[in-house]
């Protein structure tokens, strides 16, 4: 299985939009919001089924340990 690309370069990164919903069968971003409840509401409106959610922080070149 090949690694799965998750392109976040087009999303608006801000503290108020940390939750992201992805389409359940692809890595397409279908919603972004400040809270989990809100991002699930946005995803439900798109009627694509049960979304996969995640919350993003900062991306930098530093290493995490």
């Amino acid at each position: 299985m090949k690694a799965n690309k998750l392109d976040l370069t087009k999303i608006t990164k801000s503290k108020s939009k940390q939750w992201i919903a992805l389409s359940p069968h692809s890595n397409k971003v279908i919603g972004q919001a400040s809270t989990l409840k809100k991002v699930l509401q946005v995803a439900r409106k798109s009627k694509i089924g049960n979304p996969t959610v995640f919350k993003i922080g900062q991306f930098s070149s530093s290493f995490v340990g």
């Binding site: 090949k2 690694a3 799965n4 890595n27 996969t52 959610v53």
Partner: protein, 157 residues
């Protein structure tokens, strides 16, 4: 079942250049065994260095946990940073085969929900899958940079 590594492509917050990193982020379905109809699919970090498994506080609330009623534990990171989380003896995880061929793997274990937000410097803010709560329930074979193979651990179940 086999999960892909995620190649996360994002804008570097410091340099504003394109940042690409191959990360062991896997999709898990989290549930409250006392309210099993409400589930949440989340992309979490498989972290072999973490002792415990915990998720963002909003996930606990969404699943019906009164997070402050859990046992408060301090988790110390390698840099000395402290993260506090409320732990419960019964939190469920279900792993669904991305290829939809194999039977799901489901287990209930001790897991927690963060007291506060994760450190902003961490790219992953959803959940950390550690030994208790995750790795002791499954056998995991990391084949960087492509796939993560997971089977049920029958040693303790």
């Amino acid at each position: 079942m086999v999960f892909p590594y995620r190649i996360v492509k994002a804008i570097n917050d410091r340099t504003y250049q394109i940042y690409e990193k191959t990360l062991p982020w896997i999709k898990v379905v989290i549930f409250n065994p006392n309210k099993p109809r409400k589930t949440l699919s989340g992309l979490c970090l498989a972290d072999t260095g973490a002792d415990l498994t915990f998720f963002d506080t909003e996930i606990g609330e969404y699943l019906g946990y009164v997070t402050k009623e859990g046992r408060l534990i301090e988790l110390t990171g390698i840099g000395g940073g402290v993260q506090r989380a409320y732990f419960f003896e019964k939190v469920g995880i279900r792993l669904e085969d991305p290829a939809e061929k194999e039977k799901s793997i489901e287990f209930i274990d001790r897991m927690g929900f963060s007291k506060n937000n994760f450190p902003l410097s961490s790219p992953q803010q959803t959940g950390i899958l550690g030994t208790v709560g995750f790795f002791r329930n499954v056998n995991v074979y990391f084949s960087y940079p492509e796939e993560i193979k997971i089977t049920e651990n029958t040693n303790i179940n």
